[in-house]
């Protein structure tokens, strides 16, 4: 059997969980790609705020590095750290910039077996919101299998909320019929 092609989507704050899941679940002869996407809306928001000042911007100041360049640099370092954590000889590092969800789909459009994705942050309210906008889009549109991992601890099933309509859960009843 040909080796599997695995893409791990590396996102700040949750990447460690994805890498660990990839190490744990896929055979050692898999071909790994670590993918990072810099969201263009963040650099754009920062650039645009400066443009909104009507072009004033401390002209005597030495021009600093552009937001995009800083982001590219840090993305390379993050991917390198992720590769070290993966500890696999056969790994490609891919850094992209743009609309995150679309860039991720583009990166897995061709011949990828599994995309490894982490859930997003807010674990106080599990449910649809534990997938952010970009992650939701990727899960919905990825043309391959998606492995969805918890970035930190996996919650127990007691985290499932009681039914919204109906009486409070106590005292427990075996069946709940509508009148």
């Amino acid at each position: 059997m040909a080796s599997m092609r695995i893409v791990v989507w590396v996102v700040e704050g949750t990447w460690q969980g994805c890498i660990d899941a990839a190490v744990e679940h896929f055979p050692a002869d898999s071909r790994f790609t670590l993918l990072h996407v810099t969201p263009s809306d963040v650099t754009e928001a920062a650039d645009a705020a400066a443009a909104g000042l009507f072009g004033r911007g401390f002209p005597g100041r030495k021009p600093d590095r552009r937001y995009d360049d800083v982001a590219d640099d840090e993305a390379s370092k993050l991917l390198a750290a992720a590769a070290v954590r993966l500890g696999h000889p056969d790994v490609d590092l891919v850094s992209r910039r743009g609309r995150v969800e679309r860039e991720v789909i583009r990166a897995v459009a061709d011949g990828v077996d599994v995309l490894v994705v982490a859930r997003d942050g807010d674990h106080s309210r599990l449910g649809p919101k534990s997938l952010g906008h970009a992650t939701r889009f990727v899960v919905d549109h990825a043309p391959c299998a998606v492995m969805l991992v918890w970035p930190d601890e996996t919650p127990g099933i007691e985290s499932i909320p009681p039914p919204k309509h109906g009486p409070p859960p106590l005292p427990p009843r075996p069946h709940h019929h509508r009148d």
């Binding site: 704050g13 969201p39 920062a46 909104g52 005597g60 100041r61 937001y67 970035p151």
Partner: protein
């Protein structure tokens, strides 16, 4: 010249001035169109010389004040204040994204209040961006916090926003009274921003930052002390009826001397940071708006805003100001509205500021057709990825406007 013709010409010149200020063809300063446009209005008699003189005399001290604050903020950067702030935020957060966001809120609110929104946008935001990236956390909540607070947290002091400086003269308030009255609205606006952003970005405030490379830089004691003394100087000078611009100027000189002596900055850099072409632009823009106001637009605007300073009036004024700021950008909006409410006391003037300062978060960069649709998508030739920005604006601006205005109404009764 008949009124309608004069008005039309003045409005055309205003639009051309603002358009060129945004597009800045060949990177020329905004003043290149604004100053000749103002000159033309004077030559044609559309703006009488006497009127222009009065306007210039009232704008002059404001412009001097702005120049001094810009120089001061720039020198703080040369003294390493912003870099140090970045390292403290990184270390203080211990890599926790919510703690980091709280520290970014504190830094952006303070920098905006004391050194103006320009300092937050140009000097602090790049530091925050680099800090978050180095911690390997998601940048979005923190960068959006900076861009939002540059506007919402610019309510506190006359120096926080150019619009405040313009209103400061009109309000008849002392520096201390201005700050005392706006303290509650300032806190209210920041509080609402925190509640909304914390929830809106809950999914992105995730993980634990990598603090291995983080070492808090030493406090640039000299710069910090000078800024604190300058801030105190604003209140003291104003109490003695001296323009607080002199305090800003003194602070800038004291910071400049060692920086120039140790060759960290050249005299030319210091002079450039006063941004003289921009100051000329503000003066010319003030004259052009005065001309449009004189020939009809002023009375139209005066009809838009109610008299009185009851809660209802203040809310209407703030909303009108916010809408106008989004249509024509906040600087011209303030120039148009302030004369219309100037006679009605401090309350309406400060309500205008709540509108023109916090309103621009609604439509991305304070609009003017969204800064000419971001210079006709100059950079990428593609759609702008701003849907999230617009959603966040729609969620924050209405509650910020209402809460800050109610806070102002309360404040006027307590301090007033």
């Amino acid at each position: 010249m008949p009124g309608p013709v004069a008005e039309t010409l003045a409005v055309v010149l205003l639009v051309a001035t603002l358009g060129c200020a945004i597009v800045r063809p060949r990177g020329l300063p905004e003043a290149v169109v604004a100053v000749p446009a103002a000159g033309l209005l004077l030559v044609l008699g559309i703006l009488p010389l006497g009127q222009a003189g009065t306007e210039a005399r009232s704008l002059g001290p404001t412009i001097g004040f702005l120049a001094a604050v810009l120089v001061l903020a720039n020198l703080c950067d040369h003294h390493g204040l912003f870099q140090a702030a970045g390292s403290w935020m990184a270390a203080g957060s211990r890599g926790r994204p919510v703690s980091l966001l709280a520290l970014v809120f504190a830094a952006a609110s303070l920098v905006t209040a004391v050194l103006s929104l320009d300092a937050t946008v140009v000097l602090l935001t790049p530091v925050v961006f680099a800090t978050v990236a180095r911690l390997r956390l998601r940048a979005k909540p923190h960068v959006y916090a900076c861009t939002h607070l540059a506007n919402s947290a610019s309510l506190l002091l006359p120096v926080s926003n150019l619009t405040n400086l313009l209103a400061f003269g009109a309000s008849g308030l002392s520096f201390a009274r201005f700050g005392a009255t706006m303290a509650l609205p300032w806190v209210a606006a920041i509080g609402v921003e925190w509640l909304v952003l914390r929830r809106f970005f809950a999914g992105d405030l995730v993980g634990r930052g990598d603090t291995h490379e983080v070492t808090p830089l030493p406090v640039p004691v000299f710069a910090t002390v000078v800024v604190a003394l300058t801030l105190a100087g604003f209140f003291v000078t104003s109490a003695f009826n001296v323009s607080p611009a002199f305090a800003a100027l003194a602070g800038a000189v004291v910071l400049a001397v060692p920086a120039v002596a140790s060759r960290r900055v050249s005299v030319r850099d210091v002079a450039l940071s006063a941004d003289v072409p921009f100051l000329a632009f503000v003066l010319a823009l003030g004259l052009i708006v005065e001309a449009t106001s004189l020939h009809g637009l002023g009375s139209v605007v005066a009809h838009l805003v109610p008299g009185g300073s009851g809660l209802g009036s203040l809310l209407v004024i703030a909303v009108v100001a916010a809408v106008l700021a989004n249509v024509i950008n906040n600087l011209p909006a303030a120039l148009l509205l302030l004369p219309a409410v100037g006679g009605a006391g401090a309350g309406p003037v400060l309500a205008v500021l709540i509108g023109v300062n916090t309103g621009p978060n609604l439509t991305y960069v304070g609009s003017l057709a969204t800064l000419l649709w971001r210079r006709v998508l100059m950079r990428h030739g593609q759609e702008l990825p701003i849907s999230e920005f617009l959603r966040l604006g729609a969620l924050t601006v209405p509650p910020v406007l209402v809460t800050a205005t109610v806070a102002l109404w309360i404040s006027l009764r307590l301090v007033g």
